[in-house]
């Protein structure tokens, strides 16, 4: 009884805290940092479905974020399309990219997907850099308008924050529904034993392709939001390093969990902005932390895979079980 109440109470309290945050903090930059947290949570939750539920590795999610960002930027800044249409199309374009990549590589065993996504990510990096007329090349894409919904333009940090977290909330809800029903079990069965899944009538390839497309769509939507929140994008944002960071969020967050990747995304993103969070921190200390951030991703992936394959989620699941019996 109390554990059931807890299942609702914890997300409700977290949602409330997230919602009121811009009202209690005055620092505009800090609000922006938490907006970035929201953007990464969207990607991490999608990757959580792919890695944590279906057991597939992607090293190219930054490319999907980039596809969404450039699509939205081009449609809103160059073609003057309504923001909401551009936003939806950005998700669709990234999802389509995911589909094109997933269908052939998911017929094969897991490691091919990892390599294919890595190759795809590098290819998209080249496209972002070289397709000057559309992407603005190395100099990037400037002058992306703020999001506007039905004629109302969001330009205040708090408004943008709520928009991003609103999308994140919907993404989490949609993902949570999926994993709580048949599709979630199908994903986990594919991860557990492909032979067993086939023998249980699960459409293994179909499940993998669907999850991949969904996670690519989430990434694309996050990218579209990023473009209009920041107003400027360049190829240096959507690199292999970002893909590794996303993967680290999913791996550290853990398997069969959405909260895990979301929490990991929050922690890793905040770590990037320690200077904004810790007032007295010296510039050089903050810089050192940033310099060593990729080291942390690499080391964390290795340590989690070796010593805690289920990630944070498995650790607190075990703790919850121990608590019940003891």
């Amino acid at each position: 009884m109390s554990s059931r109440a807890l299942r609702w109470a914890v997300p409700a309290v977290v949602a409330l805290l997230v919602a009121v945050l811009p009202l209690v903090i005055a620092d505009r930059f800090l609000i922006k940092v938490f907006t970035f947290v929201g953007l990464n949570v969207i990607v991490a939750v999608g990757l959580g479905l792919l890695f944590g539920y279906a057991g597939q590795v992607s090293l190219g999610h930054a490319a999907f974020v980039g596809m969404g960002a450039y699509t939205s930027a081009y449609l809103t800044a160059r073609l003057d399309w309504p923001w909401i249409v551009a936003f939806a199309l950005s998700g669709a374009v990234a999802g389509l990219g995911g589909l094109v990549l997933a269908i052939p590589s998911l017929r094969l065993r897991g490691h091919y997907l990892a390599m294919a996504t890595l190759g795809f990510g590098e290819l998209m990096s080249l496209v972002f850099t070289e397709a000057d007329p559309i992407t603005g090349g190395v100099d990037g894409f400037t002058g992306i308008p703020f999001p506007s919904i039905m004629g109302f333009e969001l330009r205040q940090p708090a408004g943008l924050y709520w928009l991003v977290w609103g999308v994140a909330a919907i993404a989490i809800l949609v993902a949570a529904n999926m994993v709580n029903f048949g599709p979630g079990r199908a994903m986990r069965s594919v991860h557990g034993s492909e032979l067993g899944a086939v023998a249980s009538g699960v459409d293994v390839t179909g499940v993998k392709v669907r999850v991949f497309v969904i996670s690519a769509t989430f990434a694309g939507l996050s990218g579209a939001l990023y473009a209009s929140v920041v107003g400027f994008i360049s190829p240096s944002v959507f690199t292999l390093q970002s893909s590794v960071a996303y993967l680290a969020m999913a791996v550290i967050g853990g398997t069969a969990s959405l909260a895990g990747p979301a929490v990991a995304a929050t922690l890793l993103t905040l770590l990037e902005y320690t200077d904004a969070l810790v007032p007295g921190l010296s510039r050089s200390a903050a810089q050192t932390i940033q310099e060593y951030q990729p080291d942390l991703y690499g080391l964390a992936i290795i340590l989690v895979v070796l010593f805690a394959p289920g990630g944070l989620a498995a650790l607190w699941r075990r703790r919850a079980r121990g608590g019940e019996s003891g």
């Binding site: 897991g110 990892a114 390599m115 690499g298 080391l299 992936i301 290795i302 895979v305």
Partner: protein, 290 residues
Amino acid sequence: MEALAQFIVAGLKSGAIYALLALGFTIVYASTGAINFAQGEFFMLGGVIGVWLLSLGMPIPLAVLGAIVLTAAIGVVFEILAVRPIEGGDPLRIIMVTIGGSVLLRQLALHAFGPDELTFPAFTRGPSIRLLGAAIERQTVWIWGLTLLAVLALAAMYRYTGFGKAMRATSIRSEAARLVGIDAAGMVTASFGLSAALGAMAGLVVAPLTQTAFNVGSAIGLKGFAAAILGGLGNPVAAVGGGLILGVLESLTAGYIDPLYKDAVALVVLLLVLFIRPQGLFGGAAREKV
């Protein structure tokens, strides 16, 4: 005609490098069933460690040898620390560990040797050699010579030494190998050491032509993998073939279409092969699992 000869020479030059990396992928894949995402970092380490050893005052041959040995040692240590503890040798977890390892090795190189491009001098000085109208730099001859040497040595090792035979047996079935008393874990360690040495050699021998830096690993790793899969993953001869073909394709694209597309060739080849013929050009019919 002269242009074509020059393009082919250039293609076979980078192709030989890809072949060495493809061999590295093949060796680790054979012993673990997993792709080593850190393969490109071994290439990088060879170059930057070589430059460092030179800066300590070592002569070129000693620096080359030292860098290869040190990189191989790093490969071995990495395997013992991060790959061996994975019980059952689950390929997915091995892949994850090598992804983490590649990031870590790149960062360590950055912290140790800095972000700048580093230069390694040509192994031997002298004018280019002219052959069939193409100018061939001396270093290119070194590339071909060392690649050929590596391939022959590897072939001889597989064929004649107990170690090589054991390695082949392990690659066929590690469980079966364990049953007949082959130390499968030792073979995996050896395969990481060997592929690290090959990667380092490739990184060193090409460094005089291209310069090197902490971040050259991932791009070249991807090309090496494209070469391996173009030939057919798991087959050393096919890996070399794949490397040379990829190199020539790249060079012809750069020469006749647009140098802009040079780097895209490997990526497109990689994706196309995965889509159309995942068993590679020289592989038998791939049996899809289930």
